[in-house]
């Protein structure tokens, strides 16, 4: 482990616990109709337990693909992905929870049953399932909406249910694929604060993909900037801004400087 830390000199001291992610030499070649095209190349990074890492990059750079590979939901052509020193070879809900762009709740289940869905698959007893799902709904402050169906909830509430579902098995890692992209700006900002509160209470390792540079800097301990296709990590930016972050944080000159730095990378990649 020591040499892994040495590779990322800007990383802060390790937090003890589980939920580390190590990606070594990851690459992916997409084989389509017109032959092969490299999608991801030389992806190499470590995420320490409990860190909040945000992936940004120009459209089509493969950040969502990378996240799906971390989740074990997509194949990669080369390199390895380790979660707590064990390789990720397929979906493993005990180690990794996933929150998707659209909340993707099952419309035929209530909020409570949606949260309990992963436990249902594990054949956890009904009473236990109910208790844990209720705990999670309390965590995302939706305990009063347990018996509602998804179509009776707002977009933000649906995404909170989805987060609760991602956390119900208490995995040390939570992967989030543009979870707030479909929400309006006000809801989005409120959800950012909500997520940071949940994160500070649960101390999960979070890898979060977004298009929004403001959201990236606001949420992250570290922002990883990806290049255009084939996606590489071209910059890793430590966001040293104090927590808890507030609305005022966004007008901090350091905040704007960090956002500008990301934007310069992305502008160069888009050109």
């Amino acid at each position: 482990m020591a040499d892994l830390i040495a590779e990322a000199p800007t990383a802060p001291p390790r937090i003890s616990g589980t939920g580390s992610i190590q990606v070594r030499n990851l690459s992916h070649v997409y084989v389509g109709r017109d032959g092969e095209s490299p999608a991801l190349a030389d992806i190499d990074f470590t995420v320490e337990p409990g860190r909040f890492v945000v992936l940004v990059g120009p459209s089509g750079c493969g950040k969502t693909s990378l996240l799906m590979m971390l989740a074990g939901l997509r194949e990669h052509s080369g390199g390895t992905i380790l979660c707590d020193a064990r390789p990720v070879t397929g979906p493993d809900p005990n180690r990794i929870g996933v929150v998707f762009q659209e909340a993707n709740l099952f419309p035929w289940l209530t909020a409570l049953d949606n949260v309990a869905f992963p436990l249902t698959l594990r054949r956890v007893r009904a009473a236990e399932r109910r208790r844990r799902a209720q705990d999670m709904l309390r965590l995302v402050r939706l305990e009063d909406f347990a018996s509602r169906y998804p179509h009776e909830l707002s977009g933000g509430m649906r995404q909170r249910v989805s987060i609760a579902r991602g956390l119900v098995q208490d995995p040390p890692v939570l992967l989030m694929d543009e979870p707030f992209a479909a929400l309006d700006e006000q809801t989005r900002m409120a959800m950012g604060d909500e997520l940071l509160r949940i994160w500070s209470e649960t101390r999960k390792t979070v890898v979060f993909v977004t298009h929004s540079l403001t959201e990236a800097v606001y949420l992250a301990d570290e922002v990883m900037v990806m290049s255009a296709r084939p996606g590489r990590i071209i910059d890793r930016i430590q966001v040293g801004l104090p927590r808890p972050r507030r609305y005022e944080t966004m007008s901090d000159p350091r905040f704007t400087a960090l956002r500008d730095r990301i934007w310069r990378h992305i502008r160069a990649e888009r050109a």
């Binding site: 989740a71 939901l73 979906p91 493993d92 809900p93 996933v98 998707f100 659209e102 993707n104 099952f106 419309p107 035929w108 289940l109 869905f117 992963p118 249902t120 698959l121 594990r122 169906y149 998804p150 179509h151």
Partner: protein
């Protein structure tokens, strides 16, 4: 008064008006009795028919044909629908043929059923089955395609086994469309069987209706039509009620 109660009331009023007009037209002499007997006469003929043993045999025959055809067609159509929906190759091969079969009037195939199965129970069942299987097949395909890939991804990300994916994602996603298809399938079987009976048969309600029609026995003919309409409505509403109960989450 709620909106739904108002609609129900208007519907009932409309029905009453139609029946009243039906009753009054022949009674007031606007229409010949022989052409359109009054509603009350038709109803009394219907009740007399219902009490007649021969007519009860006819009803039982038709009912048995419908149930048999339905019971064969639904699993058959569902099975082939699933197979075709799960294989893009099969879908591309069979879809044009299926749509062709679906879009032409099925009754032109009736002579073939008579030639192969004779005039009897299996000819009606065969034709009803043929007509319904197609519908179930196409609906099943639609139902499978209505399963959202996002939902499958979610299930996979939480480690669902293939069986769990079928039970917890495919089936609930497909349920509303499947129930809708069952409702239509029952109505399809009903009309196909009676059509086959009217075309060539010695028994059954359809056969009776055809005979009365040919002999211009209007009270009996209209009584038969009334009976068939009521049966169709009851079947339809029965499955609708089931749909409503199972698909509460659908808005």
């Amino acid at each position: 008064m709620t909106n739904r109660a108002a609609i129900l009331l208007i519907r009932l009023a409309l029905l009453a008006t139609v029946l009243l007009v039906w009753e009054m037209l022949p009674r007031l002499g606007f229409v010949e009795d022989d052409l359109l007997p009054p509603f009350s006469e038709v109803t009394s003929v219907l009740f007399k028919l219902l009490g007649r043993p021969q007519f009860q045999v006819d009803m039982a025959t038709t009912a048995l044909e419908i149930v048999t055809a339905f019971a064969v067609a639904v699993p058959l159509g569902a099975l082939f629908g699933l197979l075709i929906a799960e294989s893009p190759y099969a879908a591309r091969v069979f879809d044009p043929l299926l749509f062709f079969l679906f879009s032409i009037p099925k009754s032109i195939f009736l002579p073939m059923f008579i030639l192969t199965l004779g005039i009897g129970f299996w000819q009606k069942v065969g034709f009803g089955c043929f007509s319904t299987t197609l519908l179930v097949l196409l609906s099943t395909q639609a139902a499978v395609r209505s399963v959202r890939p996002d939902h499958l991804l979610v299930a996979r990300s939480y480690g669902a086994t293939p069986l769990q994916v079928i039970a917890r994602v495919y089936l609930p996603s497909m349920l509303p469309i499947v129930l809708e298809a069952l409702r239509l399938a029952l109505i399809f079987t009903f009309t196909a069987v009676t059509l086959a009976e009217m075309y060539a048969s010695r028994t059954g309600i359809g056969h009776q209706i055809e005979t009365w029609g040919e002999n211009f026995m209007m009270p009996q003919l209209l009584a038969g039509v009334l009976l068939m309409s009521i049966t169709a409505i009851v079947l339809n509403e029965g499955i609708r009620w089931l749909e409503h109960r199972c698909g509460a989450w659908r808005t």
